[in-house]
Subunit: 361 residues, 4 copies
């Protein structure tokens, strides 16, 4: 034996530059380097495995990725069913709605004088600007739509599906909300109260008493029932936040009612937070295993990088590498026309957890 230690198996192979390398080729060469470059390459490999396995793939999305130019990447991932269910912050859905309505965000500078921006009613998101006034009509548009709904609580999932449909009818334009509507991919927004979509909902109450009711506890029930019905799952997380935990919580909650659920089978996260301060956003995938959020033998990859770098590369590579896998992929089929959604024909109630011992509906 030439190797003196079991630890020395696969040599690092220095990255070789070449003209015309595609995203897929770059990631392929990154598999044998180190640090976050390698992690990004492993993330690509793990996502391919997810697509090949018969799992429901959750995508979690926090940060300001929509305003920051990634909304059409996410819409693309939804439309082509690289993912099956989106869990998002409102701060990613509201800018999506605005751009689908034809407004814009603008390139700006992190060194801007904010008092000058405030005077012009420009809102800054690091190096990106939004025009407050351009959006006021949309707040009202959300409020009006919310006021037009039935006088009953809607899960965020149901509300966002109907909002996406309304938006598609009004604009016929692509975006996250409209893509999800058209592909019948559910969107959960557990912290919808903490966003401009929530603000629009709250303003519905000025239009009609009792309007704007969101049953976010029903979202917990629905998301867990999705997993009870289809226990093999995977998690793709961009940026931590409430979506990261909500996706994990759904699995933990489902396991209370179904022994078949044993944590996500695959997990991939692109994060900028670190574990050292104890927050969930930066927590490691290994830590998630102690909780049973993730199976202890789960294939996983954690990439410490800004999603605005990592996701375009990853999605571009997948578009090449996943082509044939995607064509034969066995994905869950949702119907959301009725108040109670279904997955593969089975109901997914929001008013009580399914009991596996009951016969499936």
């Amino acid at each position: 034996m030439t190797k003196k230690s079991r630890f020395l198996q696969t040599p690092v192979e220095p990255f070789a530059v070449e003209a015309g390398l595609t995203a897929e080729q770059i990631l392929s060469r990154m598999e044998r380097i180190s640090f976050q470059g390698r992690n990004l390459a492993v993330a690509h490999r793990v996502w391919l495995k997810m697509l090949e396995s018969d799992v429901t793939i959750f995508l979690g999305m926090a940060g300001a990725l929509s305003a920051g130019g990634l909304r059409m990447v996410v819409a693309h991932l939804i439309a082509k069913r690289y993912v099956d269910c989106l869990v998002s912050t409102g701060a990613n859905l509201y800018p999506d709605l605005n751009e689908t309505c034809g407004q814009h965000h603008f390139l700006g500078s992190p060194h801007a004088v904010d008092a000058a921006l405030a005077e012009d009613h420009i809102d800054r998101v690091y190096d990106t600007y939004a025009d407050e006034e351009e959006f006021i009509d949309n707040d009202n548009w959300i409020a009006t739509f919310a006021a037009s709904l039935d006088s009953r609580p809607y899960t965020s999932r149901e509300f966002l599906y109907r909002l996406g449909g309304h938006l598609w009818e009004a604009t016929g334009r692509d975006g996250i909300l409209t893509a999800a509507y058209r592909a019948a991919v559910p969107i959960f927004c557990p912290a919808i109260a903490d966003s401009s979509i929530g603000m629009g909902l709250s303003q519905a109450r000025q239009k009609r008493a009792g309007a704007g009711q969101i049953d976010i506890i029903g979202d917990i029930v629905e998301s867990a029932n999705l997993i009870i019905r289809r226990p093999r799952t995977a998690s793709v997380v961009l940026g931590g936040g409430t979506p990261k935990n909500f996706i994990n919580q759904a699995s933990v909650q489902a396991e209370f009612y179904s022994p078949e659920v044993g944590g996500h089978k695959y997990a991939l996260q692109i994060v900028t937070d670190v574990p050292h301060f104890g927050g969930a956003s930066g927590s490691s995938l290994e830590e998630a295993q102690s909780w049973g959020k993730l199976a202890t033998d789960a294939a996983r990859a954690s990439v410490q990088a800004d999603a605005t770098i990592a996701l375009p590369i990853l999605a571009s590579a997948l578009e090449m590498s996943a082509r044939t896998i995607l064509a034969r992929r066995q994905m869950p089929l949702f119907s959301m026309e009725e108040r109670t959604m279904t997955i593969d024909g089975h109901t997914v109630p929001s008013d009580r957890f399914e009991d596996l011992n009951e016969p499936a509906v």
Copy 2:
């Protein structure tokens, strides 16, 4: 003039070590050093200014600070009215409830083998362990309590007030929830669906159909009405997350209905995230000014530090430095016995925004 430039005003004064220095003395000496040490000292000064001014002080709390040993610091800040309203993640309220019930978290290691922990049903939060089984009774306790409430939506604020009261009756022990109940300090939890408290609420539906309804859109209305009623506010944020944005959003939402509201007058944040990736958690206080979340002349301090270091020092220093200020402080008085809360005798509805032109109730 000896100084050649207007930029050179106050010299750095090296920190001088001495035996027996108190937290207050240490912060006082840090005012003339640099970097985050100076920022922590400025934060102390800004908090004192908040207490001296006639402002409603919001405290935002994300991360795993309760499990991590800061829950009694927060309870203390509430009980002694260093703050007037708490906005928290569920992940800080649930461990508080557990410890108030007599369970514990445990010192652990970030290098633990998570598969071994999983086998023992130990959940890891970086370097801290929790016993899953110890908490199962509490989940059920929350579910039972939720099922005992009226069949109507509760704002998270109302629910948490009643939960705090129930907990105080059951245990008579101090903690965040019980301190807030006893001091009549409102707690908002906009992302309650993303936490074990939400899971407990969802389980209430197995006990009683229609139980566990939380009106988080009502929380938006209530929080904005608080500011419409009392427009001078301040913000203290620990760790970003949904609380940070919710506190800012309340001010922005209130400004729609009242020209007297012009952003928080003071702001202080202790964060570990950075602005470079565009997320709200790490966003600068200057960026908040472009949005009008913060007045452009607001006194402010942003400390890049783990709250488990910064907060104990800050709170210990304030306990000395704020003594007389606190004694004469003019703080808002809340009543939460009824479904609709009041502030200083004025109602704070959750079903519609107050219009300033109407006569105050």
Copy 3:
């Protein structure tokens, strides 16, 4: 005019995924998104401008990039003259030497049990392993080579050039040291004492009294004289550390002796540190302008990312986009055969700063 504010000029254009996108195409689409994705695209654009302008391009390299699989990217940047002068830590040159000699680094895990690795004499660099024993011969090889040199101080630049030549003769293999030797690109290593190359040099003293003398103060003089002779410069920095400051210091030092020097004309950095703690590694390019390290009108880009992700993409894109620019590039020509190096035929002494008023040699 439709835009209400001068701040709103260029809309964000969401990244559009497509199969087969090359690195250049990806970066081109990233120019209109936000955060670090945009910064990476701007970095590409800035590097192209450097190549088009008549500037001497310094490349600074810290971190563990060589062991981590980027040494052939750097060798490529040197061989094709994307850069003109390398400033490196020893920790990047030593692994380069080892791999050029035929040894390897290995893919490992950040979760390894380090005591087990220690037992097997495996050194860990985050997720990468090195075999201590494989390298012992190379330490001795460096020591023997150093002991064979003249009994006088060598600048790190001269020593590394001769080491590169010796290595090329011995192996005929590509790498950073050998590429720099063959392309006559100088390498400075100001902190050579803090590395295994320094350890090899120190061991030369056991072989021959007085061996292993490095004149790092001479490196300061040489690097400044390079800029005095050719005052238009640019800086590309990977990871901060001593190289970042050394490149800036050379410009500041040169300005003492030549009014033509006015800071780098272009600057680009790929860093993972942040500015908030005051260290030079994470310092902003704007801060560098206050020092005169960087011209106040310099085109610049700062990317917050791991170089193992950012550099392969950037270098792959440049290989396409810079093709014609590179072919006609006016780059400085060095000769290092003699003890005193020359640039474009002018001497670059290490024993005294050049005075511009003297006639050029």
Copy 4:
């Protein structure tokens, strides 16, 4: 047995706020909380253990701590022998020299307009300003001093000792350099070429041919010989950089020549970098064990915090808690009057590594 798992031993004990708490009392209460607060408390405990054991304590110092107001803390740690040997960047020694000469740094803003600062010749270090012109005399003062030395290489250690002595004679003021001179504590500066002290040295060559020679390879030999002579060591690191590695390298190099050396027995680091990118500054203490830099059973603590917060607290606490330990401490005694330094009466040559089999001098 009440505890169901061996993992559950010591409960978290929430931090209790109290008026008048001293630094020592605060750290004592932090021992039972989590995250970086606990780590800071453990660091205090580890430092006390170092002082109680018969070890040589190395202090590494990077970043901009001197300019940032910590130079008198470090001077104090040296004068009272909390540490025995300083390894520093030049960027910490040069500002120390300037302030000892009576110049100042100034409180500034990270949001300054750097072009305006550049116009006034103000150098910015994050939120701290320095007046370029105030320092020009000191550069010349260093150059003049260096030109007055013998025409031979000096280790950075010898040079800095003589510089400290010259500074003490000239000013009679306290500071790092003067405290180290007076306490006969050696200072190594392995990257002296990357600093304004190096620039001063380089300018000495304009005054006298052949002046300003620093034998940094001799520093490697000296530092290893220190450990060969006194093999029990400990490491306290502030901020990573070259000092962190140099201190570890000294132990590794010493072990080549002496089987008694087995890595540092204690280690403590206060860092802001993270391990994920592979750089040495952020590397974990566990990783150091794989290299043998740290004994596998070493007591250790790693604190993720800005030193401007952590060090004042730590040093203030030690001033109380270490009082009696310090009084009876067995520390190494250095003499640096001659060219070759001694430790406890044994020579520490810079021209060859000591062989343990030879009789000690």
